[in-house]
């Protein structure tokens, strides 16, 4: 029966090739537009660490300028001062915790004349298990390494490939900022996009060193530094002791229920500081999970919402279009319908046949839509040449492809309900009389 229906559908499509093609193209364009925007927004707002979402929290202490608003609507600085980060590391009781900041380091490979620059992250040893960094060789440095400011480093896979040909380099040394660092671990390929811990749309860094070591050796900072008060005194020590805000702080709790008690710990710390004359703004500390944080800092570009709305409206236009075209198609086929009805086909059979025909057009439209969506995503890559992230968020994967075709068929079926009902409504006698 289905085969017969498909046979008739093919005949129907051949009878109105232009109308059918128009509809397929309309469906394809609408679907392609919607799917490509949907892909981009989906992969941009995806949390790369869903398993950690209830446990990891970004910590905010309101140590900002009492006279001026801060970086966000609630006026709370996103980052911490060095003093507060150290205090929280010392007094904090979370399961795991790490203060961190981005660094840039000059690396000098053995025997090489010309050094090159690598990006890195200064963090505490807990960092790796907090963010599920996968180790290929070795592991994180030990807790004493943090305390003793040891010159130890964890390498990303890419830099290990470059320096050691991908071999197990644990125990080897590399020169960072003209000092020898011992390799304690090498990571596997690690793609944390977005890089949730500082919310950059860039790949994870190449080297990881202890926070304390980086602060002592005055590694160059990457990321924003906000000094709302001029630094009292000169030199790096004065900078560390200042109210400058530049450190990201994350904690991992053993249970989400501890959140309130950790927050009250933060409040009591802030109150202590208030007594010392710091934290002059009203008490306003916060903790955010990764999902909450991405919303809080509006990590997903607002323009994308506008584009999604427009894509959705575009799809609606295409569907209205399809309704009209199908109506035109089905209603101009009276003679054929009349014969079928007179020979005993029921209304339900005619109705089904119309649906099958639209589903076929929808399927074609879906295939065509895949091509359009692919072209669209390629176009976006061309517009953002050289941005590795764009290549990441514009990937057309299998589930998306299947989704595109299913959506196209569903949309065409939805669009065909009314025309199919209209088309199958007439009685054989009236159809025969109208038929010419």
């Amino acid at each position: 029966m289905l085969r017969y229906n498909i046979f008739l559908a093919a005949r129907g499509i051949r009878r109105h090739p232009i109308l059918s093609a128009l509809m397929a193209v309309a469906v394809a364009l609408g679907i392609a537009m919607f799917m490509s925007i949907f892909t981009i927004s989906q992969s941009m707002s995806k949390n790369p660490l869903p398993q950690k979402n209830d446990f990891l929290y970004r910590v905010q202490l309101d140590a900002g300028d009492p006279n001026r608003p801060g970086d966000d609507p609630e006026n709370r600085p996103h980052q911490l001062t060095y003093m507060d980060a150290l205090a929280l590391m010392r007094e904090g009781w979370a399961l795991r915790q790490s203060a961190m900041f981005g660094i840039s380091a000059i690396i000098r490979p053995e025997g090489a004349e010309v050094p090159f620059e690598v990006f890195g992250r200064a963090a505490y040893s807990d960092f790796f298990s907090m963010f599920d960094a996968p180790f290929k060789y070795g592991g994180p440095w030990s807790d004493p390494a943090d305390e003793n400011r040891e010159r130890v480093v964890v390498l990303a896979a890419s830099i290990n490939d470059q320096l050691f040909g991908g071999e197990d380099s644990v125990g080897e040394h590399i020169t960072l900022k003209e000092e020898l660092f011992r390799v304690v671990g090498v990571l596997e390929e690690w793609n944390l996009l977005p890089r949730v811990y500082d919310y950059e749309w860039s790949p994870t860094e190449d080297t990881f060193i202890p926070f304390t070591t980086a602060a002592e050796m005055e590694f160059d900072r990457r990321g924003s530094t906000n000094c709302w008060q001029s630094i009292p005194g000169q030199g790096h020590q004065a900078f560390l002791a200042s109210e400058c805000i530049w450190i990201q702080f994350w904690v991992e709790l053993s249970d989400p229920s501890e959140r309130t008690s950790y927050l009250s710990f933060l409040d009591s710390y802030a109150n202590q500081q208030k007594e010392l004359g710091r934290f002059q703004r009203p008490l306003d500390n916060a903790m955010h999970t990764i999902d909450e944080w991405s919303k809080y800092i509006r990590a997903v570009d607002e323009g994308i919402v506008v584009t999604i709305i427009i894509a959705l409206l575009f799809l609606i236009v295409c569907l209205i279009n399809s309704i009209g075209l199908l109506l035109a198609k089905f209603l101009s086929r009276n003679s054929e319908l009349a014969v079928h009805r007179a020979m005993g086909a029921s209304r339900v059979q005619l109705f089904t046949r119309f649906l099958v025909e639209s589903a076929c057009i929808g399927f074609t439209g879906g295939l065509l839509g895949l091509v359009f969506a692919w072209l669209g995503l390629m176009g976006i890559r061309v517009l953002f040449r050289g941005e590795s992230v764009v290549a990441h968020v514009t990937q057309l994967d299998f589930s998306l492809a299947v989704g595109t075709i299913l959506l196209a068929i569903a949309a065409s079926l939805a669009a065909s309900l009314y025309p199919a009902w209209r088309g199958s409504r007439g009685t054989p006698a009236s159809l025969l009389r109208d038929a010419k």
Binding site: P115, E178, A238, V305, N321
Partner: protein, 406 residues
């Protein structure tokens, strides 16, 4: 004259296609008007004045690898670099600075006239330049004077130095002193990293980032930086850009060996990179608009063709009764124009509604009456074109043929 009465009644008799066309046009208008606002806003950002000769300029970031080199040693390397670059053939002038136009990195700072008042400080971009900086950037002095060589001091890392002189860009000066002429602003006091005297006002140049309202607000102070990382901006004579980049890339390490050239990029390339997002939006919005119009015109042609063909007999009778081809065409066009106008009547409030939502929730820009009207007219015209072809076909039919079977 236009026979609106009969047209209207015939519309009511066959509603479906008309309703579909009207609804479709309504949604299309809602989309197109808002897309147009998006495009024009992005274009406005893209077309912000650069103020500099960006085609013949580049910048390079060099980094000294020797850790903890003392500031005096760094200063002498910077001086040697600048001397070398300024002497290189093809170079008009060069400067060591920060917040390079379009580079995407720099310092922004608060500036205010009176720190004691309650007025929120203005955010501006901060550039350190020496006495040749204006020439190197190619920015004209509009009032007052340039920095003097003896005013230029060295800034060391984490040092809290604050010079006494400042140059303001025209836009920043006018923002801080809205009631004064440029000449009057010279000599006034402002508070940046400390109290400073405005010694001059300089012409427009683009800041390091692409924010829309403060992109031209720039403050210049007479400082060179004894940092291990230095950025030089170089202006070359026309056509010498690539050659100069190659020469300097090769020869700069010979002045001081233990360092690396981190980044070297023409300002033109930096500009493209910085405005990539805006540029992409313009493309995406434009392609969407065209695709939308294409879908609508195709769909309308199909629907109108069908709707008109169903009335072939009716039209044949009217032709037989004396209506001319022109009459038929005109009737059909008026009929569809009516439908389209109904669609526009629904679409414009929809567009405004969508726009209000986007403006309140998504930092979108409000609709503009003039360009919106133009777009509505253009859409109407394009859609009517979709009616012309089927209408023409049917009005050409021979009435004798059509009416034979009646």
């Amino acid at each position: 004259m236009l026979e609106l009465g009969p047209i209207f009644r015939s519309l009511l008799r066959r509603k479906t296609i008309g309703v579909l066309i009207a609804v479709q046009i309504a949604v299309v208008i809602a989309i197109l008007l808002n897309l147009q606002v998006g495009v024009s806003y992005q274009l406005q950002a893209l077309n912000q004045e650069s103020g500099i000769d960006h085609q013949n300029m580049f910048y390079m970031n060099v980094h000294i690898a020797e850790p903890n080199l003392n500031p005096d040693a760094i200063a002498s390397i910077v001086n040697a670099d600048l001397d070398y670059i300024r002497k290189t053939s093809g170079v008009i002038d060069a400067v060591q600075t920060i917040s390079v136009p379009y580079s995407g990195s720099g310092w922004s700072m608060s500036i205010e006239v009176d720190p004691a008042d309650d007025i929120r400080p203005t955010v501006c971009y901060f550039r350190m330049i020496d006495d040749r900086g204006l020439n190197a950037l190619g920015i004209n002095l509009l009032a007052g004077r340039n920095f003097r060589p003896e005013e230029v001091e060295w800034r060391i890392p984490y040092g809290a130095s604050s010079p006494n002189q400042v140059l303001l860009s025209q836009q920043l000066a006018e923002h801080l002193f809205p009631d004064a002429t440029l000449a009057e602003i010279v000599g006034r006091q402002v508070h940046l990293t400390g109290p400073m005297t405005v010694v001059g006002v300089v012409a427009t140049s683009h800041g390091p980032w692409a924010s829309i309202d403060q992109v031209h607000r720039i403050a210049y102070v007479p400082q060179k930086q004894a940092f291990d990382s230095s950025t030089y901006v170089v202006r070359t004579t026309p056509g010498k850009l690539e050659e100069t980049i190659r020469t300097l890339e090769q020869n700069l390490p010979t002045i001081y060996r233990n360092r690396l050239i981190r980044h070297i990029e023409s300002i033109e390339v930096a500009k493209k990179r910085l405005y990539q997002g805006q540029n992409a939006s313009v493309w995406v919005f434009s392609v969407t608009s065209i695709a939308l119009l294409f879908v609508v015109v195709c769909g309308m042609t199909g629907m109108v063709n069908f709707a008109i063909r169903r009335r072939t007999t009716h039209i044949g009778i009217r032709r037989a009764l004396g209506a001319t081809q022109f009459d038929i065409m005109r009737n059909l066009l008026v009929e569809y124009a009516l439908i389209l106008c109904v669609g526009i009547g629904i679409g414009v409030p929809m567009a405004i509604g969508l726009n209000v939502y986007l403006v309140t929730n998504q930092e979108f820009e409000p609709l503009m009456a003039m360009s919106s009207a133009l777009i509505v007219m253009a859409t109407l015209a394009v859609c009517l074109l979709a009616v012309v072809f089927p209408a023409q076909q049917v009005s050409k039919l021979d009435p004798a043929q059509i009416t034979r079977s009646v």
